[in-house]
């Protein structure tokens, strides 16, 4: 679909802010390099950190900018002034975001996991969880970027407060946490208690799918009703 082509072309400029993502990648790699020094160090614990920090952050940056940057500088109107269906717009932007996130965060996770454990269920599990996380998080962030111009700030707030604090404190919140969904999926494959996943595979998959679908739908609706915050003239 040509839109994806278009959205990908936007990436040329977006390479500027893929740099944080690259940074994340680099740091993951660096972490792995220090590994030989610590023989006692449990790799899965690193996996959760990389998983729970690097991944959401990358998804945040990519997901909010894939549509948000165009909305911010107004060039989205050229996209919207065409008969292309809004759902197509959202889905293709979403697809690009997921692809990029996978490339810049999930794959490094996999590589890191492989280096750390030399293959095995943990690495694969983490990768699967990372892909799921890429999907779910990006859906959320794309939706947020349609709804507000300060999408990154709001997304950050969500990540820190909801995923970071509440989930740890309030047990019921696990059902509604994107982080938990992806951890659940990872855990199902890796079976590692240190991942701190509270959800079963079925719950995680179902809830994750629901959240993804709902947020994307909301995004499409919001885009159809997109009003220009224009200058008064």
């Amino acid at each position: 679909m040509r839109i994806t082509f278009r959205a990908t072309m936007s990436r040329k400029r977006a390479l500027l802010f893929a740099i944080p993502a690259v940074l994340l990648l680099g740091i993951s790699g660096l972490l792995k390099a220090t590994q030989p020094a610590a023989t006692q160090w449990p790799p899965q614990f690193l996996g959760t950190f990389g998983f729970s920090v690097v991944l959401p952050l990358t998804a945040l940056i990519i997901g909010t900018s894939v549509l948000g940057a165009e909305i911010d500088d107004g060039s989205v109107i050229h996209l919207l002034a065409t008969p292309v269906r809004r759902s197509t717009v959202i889905f293709s932007k979403f697809a690009v975001a997921v692809g990029l996130t996978i490339a810049f965060a999930a794959v490094p996770e996999l590589l890191a996991g492989l280096i750390a454990t030399g293959g095995g269920k943990l690495a694969v599990g983490i990768f699967a969880g990372a892909v799921a996380a890429a999907v779910i998080y990006n859906a959320i962030f794309v939706m947020v970027s349609v709804l507000t111009t300060r999408a990154i700030a709001v997304g950050l707030l969500y990540l820190v407060v909801w995923e970071g604090l509440l989930v740890n404190l309030v047990s019921g919140a696990s059902e509604l946490s994107a982080g938990q969904y992806s951890l659940g999926i990872a855990n199902a494959i890796a079976g590692n208690p240190n991942l701190n996943a509270h959800l079963s595979l079925t719950t995680a998959v179902i809830m994750g799918a629901i959240v993804t679908a709902v947020t994307l739908l909301l995004a499409v609706r919001a885009l159809s009703a997109f009003s220009l915050k224009g200058d008064a003239a």
Binding site: R13, I77, H78, P83, V84, S224, A233
Partner: protein
């Protein structure tokens, strides 16, 4: 013929009414949407393009409402005001991508044609970031034309253009209109509108203050006398002769000449020639002092 129809369209933001009960029809040809800044021109254009929902009233393009209806863009092209184009793309890429987004069967050909119309063929392979402002406007027009729409909306197209570019754009719009398209452009610069459009829609404070041919509008306002500036060989004598005529409301001697207020424009012009010959005065210059759009405009605002 696709036309834009507005019926009792209003749009408000909380307490602020941006567009107030406007009813009008935009048909083929060039129409100028005129009004000071803040009058609601952009709001109106955005509503026509389906980017704003009218708070009240009906707005249709070619019979279908434009809100939540991206299909409208098959017959409508929009040239937005904000100078926000994907600057890292080349002109040709941009138009071609737009063509593809419209789902045209031959995007490259359509793009080439559109670029040819705006005469940017020699710059099309350069990045848009290297374009001058006028060129950027034109590439936006090309993108809006690529699918050969029946309706073209331009938001402040002449903003920031130098006179030569403005003339080029005006000729372009004229040529487009001649093929039966409906072209609506907004401006707050009067001499632009004056020069190219026959029809104007004047928006002041969100309301439609006047619509139609501007000269005709002017004449409709017979409540205000026309003012002429006359220069002759003997102004004073002419003045005294004129004041005796019923068509004349007042005369004033000014350093520039004789200022005549005529209640009956037609009668005055008819009588002037005879009068001067009778009195033996040579008429040097006769100017309508407020025929320009600006005085129309100012008058509308003042009222």
């Amino acid at each position: 013929m696709t036309a834009i129809e507005l019926r009792n369209v209003s749009r408000w933001y909380g307490n602020v009414v941006a567009v107030n009960d406007i009813t009008m029809t935009i048909g083929p040809g060039v129409t100028g949407l005129l009004g000071p800044n803040g009058a609601g021109k952009s709001t109106l254009l955005h509503m026509m393009a389906g980017f704003l929902e009218p708070s009240r009233g009906e707005l249709t393009v070619g019979g279908r409402p434009s809100w939540r209806n991206p299909e409208i863009f098959r017959v409508l092209g929009l040239v937005p005001e904000r100078d926000s184009v994907y600057s890292f793309l080349t002109g040709a890429d941009f138009v071609r991508a737009t063509a593809r987004l419209h789902g045209l069967p031959d995007p490259d050909g359509a793009a080439r044609q559109a670029i040819g119309i705006v005469e940017l063929a020699d710059a099309q392979d350069r990045r848009i970031s290297t374009y001058s402002k006028g060129m950027r406007q034109r590439i936006k027009v090309a993108a809006a034309l690529v699918h050969d729409p029946a309706v073209l909306l331009l938001d402040e197209p002449f903003n920031g253009m130098d006179p030569r570019q403005r003339l080029q754009m005006m000729d372009l719009l004229d040529a487009l209109a001649h093929r039966g398209r409906a072209i609506l452009f907004s401006s707050h610069i009067l001499e632009e509108v004056e020069r190219i459009s026959g029809t104007i829609q004047v928006i002041v404070g969100g309301r439609l203050a006047a619509s139609g041919d501007f000269r005709a509008i002017r004449r409709l306002m017979t409540s205000r006398p026309h003012v002429f500036l006359v220069r002759s060989s003997d102004d004073r004598l002419l003045g005294s002769a004129l004041i005796g005529r019923p068509a004349v409301n007042g005369v004033e001697l000014t350093p520039r000449g004789l200022q005549v207020r005529a209640a009956d424009y037609g009668a005055f012009t008819r009588e002037l020639a005879g009068l001067t010959r009778q009195q033996g005065i040579r008429l040097r210059e006769l100017l309508p002092a407020d025929e320009s759009l600006e005085s129309v405009f100012a008058y509308l605002i003042a009222s």
